[in-house]
């Protein structure tokens, strides 16, 4: 941390009081806004069902940890969690890899069809996703019938779908990050005997790590939270969390306390992962400093 903070010093001049106070006030308010629902989740997850469905209280009158045990009984939460992890993880890795290649091509080569490619990729973000649902399902079923690869109902189909959801934005974002990496760097690498892919992986990717991490986080969260496609493309063995959590609101009852407890439990590993990745979000400074 100390070496990092030294790098972060932006100017020899100390920041004026007006800046420091605005920062304090703004960040405090923002933290409050972010924390409010989190507090509600934590406190509600510790209340018995009768209390949760009653008037809100800042300080819960009766605390219980029962919901944290009940969540595993009401729905197979662990299975859903594993499914989500596999689907979102695989989609992220594939999406980022494919996007790195595509962005490299667009950023470093001029070739016929470049503009068509970028515009087409962007246009896919404009059609409301819900209308993809049925045609996509049909396509998967037909691929399944033709080739024997079961895409619908399997994790594979969902991975494929999610990775393409995040692909357009990842490509666009990475093109921007790659463009900002000085060309002299990969030229120098090529002179040193690296092939085009060598230049990509030895020079450009390391220099664009913050961007790649940001894009990866985005790809992961897209797959992690998607509800609609998951609801029709999965069955009870492949169901993901985003859909599985709805299992706590049944026809007869809404187990508010369990919803909150389960959400917290499944979000904890993700937040922890973010914590680890944070480091990489700022390492880009080093890359910039090479210049």
């Amino acid at each position: 941390m100390p070496s990092q903070s030294r790098r972060q010093v932006r100017s020899p001049m100390a920041a004026p009081q007006s800046f420091l106070w605005s920062r304090r006030i703004f960040l405090t308010l923002l933290a409050g806004f972010v924390l409010l629902p989190v507090y509600v989740m934590v406190s509600s997850s510790l209340k018995p069902l009768q209390d949760v469905s009653g008037k809100f209280q800042w300080i819960p009158s009766g605390l219980t940890v029962r919901p944290y045990f009940d969540i595993w009984e009401t729905v197979p939460l662990a299975d859903y969690f594993v499914n989500s992890l596999i689907v979102a993880g695989a989609a992220t890795v594939c999406s980022v890899t494919i996007a790195v290649f595509a962005a490299y091509a667009v950023s470093r080569y001029s070739f016929r069809g470049r503009r068509v490619f970028t515009v087409t990729v962007l246009s896919t973000q404009m059609f409301p996703g819900i209308l993809f649902l049925l045609p996509l399902f049909l396509i998967y079923v037909n691929i399944g019938n033709a080739t024997g690869i079961a895409l619908f109902g399997s994790r594979g189909g969902l991975i494929l779908t999610y990775l393409t959801f995040s692909l357009p934005f990842s490509i666009w974002m990475l093109i921007g990050y790659f463009d900002s990496v000085p060309r002299d760097l990969d030229e120098a690498a090529k002179v040193d005997g690296c092939g085009p892919l060598g230049a990509l992986f030895r020079v450009i990717v390391p220099a664009a790590i913050p961007g790649i991490v940001a894009v990866a986080v985005y790809a992961f969260m897209t797959a992690w939270g998607e509800v609609l496609f998951a609801s029709v493309m999965t069955n009870d063995t492949t169901r993901t969390l985003a859909v599985g959590l709805q299992g706590y609101s049944t026809q007869n009852d809404v187990y508010w306390n369990q919803i909150m407890a389960a959400s917290l439990v499944v979000s904890l590993p993700v937040v922890a992962g973010f914590l680890l990745l944070q480091r990489y979000l700022v390492t880009g400074l080093t890359a910039g400093a090479v210049k």
Binding site: S11, A31, L35, P37, V40, T118, S123, P135, G288
Partner: protein, 331 residues
């Protein structure tokens, strides 16, 4: 946008490509160089074709068909409807067209506010946190929490808080602060627009924060130092260096935030359930209702195609405007 970004470098690149990168095996090397970009694009292209473009084309075909529950079992039997689906959707004097128009206007308003606020919060937080201070790491993690929660969990928690009789919001506004005469509704009626906006911003701003934070890393420190030597204060540095440097990131960020917010389905669907209140009836939910719940996919597709056209025009105009502005600053 990307083409424009690359434009200044094109000449330089041409020269570079002709220069002998690898002196041995020059001919096969050149062949590979010409083929390489296409090879690199191929996986992305194939997947986009499969998951986005082909379904989109099917959607456009369907918009000219009368695809109701009588025909969904075998789409080819659905009769052609000509422009009927479209005329139904744009007949603003009849309830269906009128509702669509209303929903469209609502969505536009909602998108402008939501994207604006998301960007503002994200940019402000990222800039304030550019410099190290105690607790920065903690705050950065905290700010990503809304993003790390599954959408369903986050939105259902807000729905829980927005309940009229038992929710936290009214508990504070009405019971504790006494700002209102009677507890207002948030999930039905006119306030639902505000509720939707709050949830959308809460969920969306950390993404802007993340992207802008990553973008800030690429601003070389020397630039700030030079400015500081020239006597620029911190506010001036932000205005003169940080914000202009964020331009390329912002251009993409604002555009995708706009597209996502405009097409957002999960948030209103979880917040309001199957029928959103009129004042928060976003277009994607509206189309979902007009197609899935009523099993009339022809009309739903026609509405989607209209939406696609609108977004194409807006995006085109946006890219033109922002890149023109960019060129002048570059010059």
């Amino acid at each position: 946008m990307t083409t424009l970004t690359a434009a200044p470098g094109t000449g330089e690149r041409k020269a570079r490509e002709n220069s002998p990168g690898a002196p041995r095996k020059r001919r096969s090397g050149r062949l590979r160089r010409i083929g390489l970009p296409y090879l690199l694009l191929l996986p992305a292209l194939l997947l986009e074709l499969l998951v986005h473009l082909v379904p989109m084309v099917i959607g456009i075909v369907v918009s000219f068909k009368e695809l109701t529950q009588f025909y969904i079992r075998d789409w080819s039997t659905a009769p052609w409807a000509g422009l009927d689906n479209y005329s139904l959707a744009v007949d603003f004097n009849a309830p269906i067209g009128e509702a669509l128009l209303k929903s469209f206007v609502t969505t536009c308003l909602f998108t402008v506010f939501s994207v604006g606020l998301c960007w503002l919060l994200g940019a402000a937080a990222a800039i304030f946190m550019q410099e190290s201070f105690r607790g920065r790491g903690f705050l950065r993690t905290l700010f990503l929490v809304p993003y790390a929660l599954p959408v369903y969990a986050a939105v259902i928690t807000w729905a829980f808080m927005f309940q009229r009789d038992n929710g936290l919001i009214n508990h504070v506004l009405h019971d504790q602060l006494g700002l209102t005469d009677s507890p207002p509704f948030w999930l039905i009626g006119d306030n639902s627009f505000v509720a939707l906006l709050v949830v959308s911003v809460w969920k969306g701003w950390p993404f802007a924060f993340l992207i802008i934070m990553a973008g800030l890393q690429n601003i070389p420190r020397e630039v700030y130092e030079a400015a500081a030597l020239d006597g620029a204060g911190i506010w001036q540095q932000i205005r003169r260096i940080t914000l202009p440097s964020l331009r390329p990131v912002n251009q993409v960020l604002v555009l995708v935030l706009f597209l996502w917010t405009f097409n957002d389905f999960n948030t209103p669907f979880v917040l309001f359930g199957e029928a959103a209140p009129e004042s928060a009836d976003l277009i994607s939910l509206h189309i979902y209702q007009s197609s899935f719940q009523t099993w009339n996919f022809g009309t739903g597709s026609a509405m989607s195609v209209l939406l696609l056209l609108f977004l194409l025009v807006v995006t085109g105009a946006y890219l033109l405007l922002t890149s023109r502005g960019r060129k002048t600053t570059d010059a």
